[in-house]
């Protein structure tokens, strides 16, 4: 893994039309800088996130996926971000079972006013994935080190 240092990850980010997509707009308007590694997809709501979308992104070569939505309790559609949260938690289990590190899927809440926070989330995500290295899971048959089930359960309880 010597090329890890100059490895530039590609990350797909799913955004909600009402909050995180607007936060991305706001980051732009405020000229806040973040690395160009994230490519955003606009959905109407994080609740629209079909787990297939995440699988598709990994299958197409994304090194990581970000799911973003309104803060709990602030969903434009009342409560659909909670459904996104549940799907995220289940998806992480599925990914681990498939040999993908759980950290490659990240959930971040960002309101329409939180351009700075979204930019920071993206920057941190890029750094994390840079450390993890390329996914390449469909190429190498070896199992990467995965987080233990217990650790995931712990986070699920917290969420």
């Amino acid at each position: 893994m010597t090329e890890k240092n100059d490895f530039e990850p590609t990350i797909v980010g799913f955004t909600c039309n009402w909050c995180s997509y607007r936060a991305a707009d706001l980051a732009g308007i405020a000229r806040i800088k973040y690395p160009p590694n994230v490519r955003l997809v606009r959905l109407m709501c994080s609740g629209r996130l079909d787990p297939t979308f995440v699988m598709k992104a990994f299958a197409e070569g994304a090194d990581a996926v970000m799911i973003t939505g309104c803060h709990p309790g602030e969903c434009h559609y009342l409560e659909q971000n909670y459904k996104a949260l549940r799907r995220y938690l289940l998806l992480r289990r599925t990914l681990v079972a498939m040999g993908i590190e759980a950290e490659r899927l990240h959930l971040a809440w960002a309101s329409a006013a939180e351009g700075i926070q979204l930019a920071r989330e993206i920057t941190e995500m890029v750094e994390r994935v840079r450390t993890l290295g390329p996914l390449n899971w469909h190429l190498n048959g070896s199992q990467p080190e995965v987080v233990s089930e217990a650790a995931i359960e712990l986070e699920e309880v917290a969420a």
Binding site: D25, R39, R42, E60, A112
Partner: protein, 669 residues
């Protein structure tokens, strides 16, 4: 599922890459992006790819229209700014050229690329990726017809301050019904508490009360005071509002507003709302003499009868038997088409800046206390006196920016406090002849007649000290400081620390969002900024609309502002609503979910997911059906259907999956 080869060989795509002056082109090689799309995505159906200085200009739009005609384009992709800004512009351009507007896709390479990245090569590569995503996606777009919904002619205005009153009157004068809901017992808001207004110094009550009366008497306005909005359902044009009419314990149909109950009530209560804690009211009271409506309310927590079961003096003396101790809260429901939120602000609590002494140094006053003290009908009958109620101060210090422009409290400028501080300086000098010191960080008097007022106050001899006050203390160091309040501040114009002994200190407090602004925002489905002010649809071009169709904002709820700006926003929001009402119906984004009957297994998983109860289950056919009028298009059911039997227009599985493929076109192995 999509495939790598072109699944739509018949489509002809036009691609337009915008320079946005240099906003995009300085960081993205736009010519290269267009050329790349023309060369590399020809097999996807791209027949023309252009770059242009300003795509949103009329010439840019005409370019698209001309190509649609001449090159028989069936899809259009514009790589420019955020779709929240110009999606409508390009959809309309397509429509003018005879192409269904929903066959156009806007990809953002400004807000999400050129403005946030610093490496031109990487930014150009990312632009290509997002453009490719847009092209893959647009192939799966379907021609859609906007849904039209009727607009109910009634409007809900929440908040009866000057902004809400203005909005209600404008709409009512245009001939449409308005429900004006106010939490307090009277409309009037903060303005009703003021004595004089800057810079004209006209009497606040004299200009406000006629408007209050007009709103109270207007045949098209249903005034609901002592009431709060509990719930809002529905969507633009068709909201269902639930209001809690709190129990006044006074039957308004019988009450004549004579005031005998208030007179006879034996219980005195400190009035910390209207009189800012300086004066008293009774347990049954109208908040101020000019209140609209002029019906009293009963303060159940302080009423002797509710405490001990005895008294009922008000009931005994009421000549019309209007007192009703058994009255309960009432829930009122009504439909409206549009909503204007004008819920105003809370004054910054000066106690939080403990080094300024408010709350423990008795002659430190808040701006609202001073307003009341100044008012001829206020607790001191308009006399400017110290807390003892009789001593006229010889020297007064006015501190600006209390709670504003301060990293410990609020970073923003509350905009009104400089003028407020100047107004106070003028009034103190005029009425007491005291020496006045104004401590300011920067003097912000940018509005019609404001700087002239500042010049006038300067000429009157008020001393101005530029610097932030460190503390207000009563600990004297020098003989002339004995018995005084000492204001310690750095005078940044002479570069020295100064200690100014004064008799009275007035804190020009800033404005803050209402303490419950967040919950109210949730009720109405709109968002708050990080500071807590409500977010407008566009900070410059759409300052009174919100991202939620049919919900508008006016006055300080959008951010700190003075009376003229609040009135202007109230009128502006009303104009927007009147426009909507007169259209009678409006087009909605046709982003809706629908069930493919032949694929629905009747499992009912989707039924409980919908927060709008838009999904019905037919027991006879064992199929679920989505009511398009109730569906808001979030897409949660689409994502959840295990049979893939629900599709969401505008955001179908095919569209999103294709976009992901396109976005990652450079990652394929």
């Amino acid at each position: 599922m999509t495939t790598k080869s072109n699944s739509h060989p018949q489509e002809r795509i036009g691609v337009y890459v915008c320079h946005c002056g240099t906003n995009i082109s300085a960081m993205v090689d736009v010519e290269d992006v267009a050329q790349w799309a023309a060369d590399k995505l020809e097999h996807k159906g791209v027949v023309i790819a252009r770059d242009y200085k300003f795509m949103c200009s009329s010439l840019g739009q005409e370019l698209v229209e001309k190509d649609i005609h001449e090159l028989k384009l069936t899809r259009v992709v514009v790589a420019a700014c955020s779709p929240h800004l110009h999606e409508k512009t390009f959809r309309t351009a397509c429509e003018r050229a005879g192409l269904n507007p929903y066959l156009c896709e806007l990809v953002s390479i400004r807000e999400q690329v050129s403005w946030v990245h610093t490496d031109k090569v990487a930014a150009t590569a990312k632009s290509k990726a997002v453009l490719s995503g847009g092209i893959e996606r647009v192939l799966w777009h379907e021609p859609l017809d906007p849904m039209t919904v009727p607009i109910h002619p009634a409007t809900l205005v929440v908040g009866g301050g000057i902004a809400g009153i203005q909005a209600a009157l404008e709409i009512a004068d245009a001939g449409h019904p308005v429900y004006l809901v106010e939490r307090d017992a009277s409309i009037g808001g903060h303005m009703a508490q003021f004595d004089k207004t800057f810079p004209t110094l006209d009497c606040a009550a004299c200009i406000l009360t006629p408007r209050m009366v007009e709103a109270g008497m207007h045949p098209n306005i249903t005034l609901m005071t002592w009431a709060e909005v509990e719930n809002v359902d529905g969507y633009v044009g068709n909201f269902d509002v639930t209001v809690r009419q709190k129990a006044r314990k006074v039957i308004t149909d019988l009450c004549t507003g004579c005031g005998i109950c208030e007179e006879k009530c034996p219980k005195k209560v400190i009035d910390d709302v209207y009189e800012a804690g300086l004066g008293y009211r009774k347990a049954v009271y109208t908040p101020f003499p000019q209140a609209v409506p002029n019906f009293p309310v009963m303060d159940v927590e302080n009423c002797i009868y509710f405490d001990t079961g005895k008294c009922k003096a008000c009931e005994k003396f009421c000549p019309t038997e209007a007192i009703d101790f058994t009255q309960e809260d009432e829930i009122v429901e009504f439909p409206v088409g549009n909503i204007i939120l004008a819920t105003g602000y809370d004054l910054f609590d000066a106690r939080r800046v403990s080094n300024y002494g408010y709350g423990h140094l008795e002659n430190v006053f808040t701006s609202m206390e001073f307003e009341r003290m100044n008012n001829a009908s206020g607790p001191t009958d308009g006399e400017i006196v110290l807390r003892d109620g009789k001593t006229v101060p010889d020297s007064v210090g006015i501190i600006h920016c209390v709670g504003s422009r301060d990293m410990n409290y609020n970073n923003y400028c509350s905009t009104i406090c400089c003028m407020q501080g100047l107004k106070f300086a003028h009034l103190v000098q005029e009425r007491t002849g005291a020496t006045v010191y104004n401590f300011y960080i920067d003097m912000r008097t940018a509005y019609k007649g404001y700087d002239e007022f500042y010049q006038k106050v300067l000429e009157e001899g008020t001393r101005f000290i530029r610097g932030k006050v460190a503390e207000v203390t009563d600990v004297a160091r020098l003989p002339n400081e004995e018995g005084k309040l000492i204001i310690q501040a750095e005078d940044t114009l002479i570069g020295k620390q100064r200690r100014i002994p004064v008799d009275m200190v007035i804190l020009s407090s800033g404005l803050e969002p209402r303490h419950d602004a967040k919950e109210v925002a949730k009720t109405f489905g709109i968002s708050c900024s990080a500071d807590g002010w409500y977010i407008e649809k566009h900070p410059k071009l759409d300052p009174v609309a919100t991202m939620t169709e049919g919900v508008y904002i006016a006055g300080c709820v959008q951010g700190p502002k003075d009376i003229p700006s609040s009135v202007a926003q109230g009128a502006a929001a009303a104009a927007r609503v009147i426009g909507k009402i007169q259209q009678k119906e409006m087009a909605l984004e046709p982003v809706r979910a629908s069930v493919l009957e032949d694929q629905c297994s009747g499992c009912r998983i989707c039924n409980d997911l919908c927060p709008f109860n838009a999904i019905l289950f037919h027991e006879d056919t064992m199929l679920s059906e989505i009511n398009p009028a109730l569906c808001q298009g979030c897409g949660t059911c689409v994502a959840a259907c295990p049979a893939g039997a629900i599709t969401g227009t505008g955001f179908s599985n095919e569209q999103v999956l294709a976009q992901i493929e396109g976005l990652l076109m450079d990652m394929s192995v």
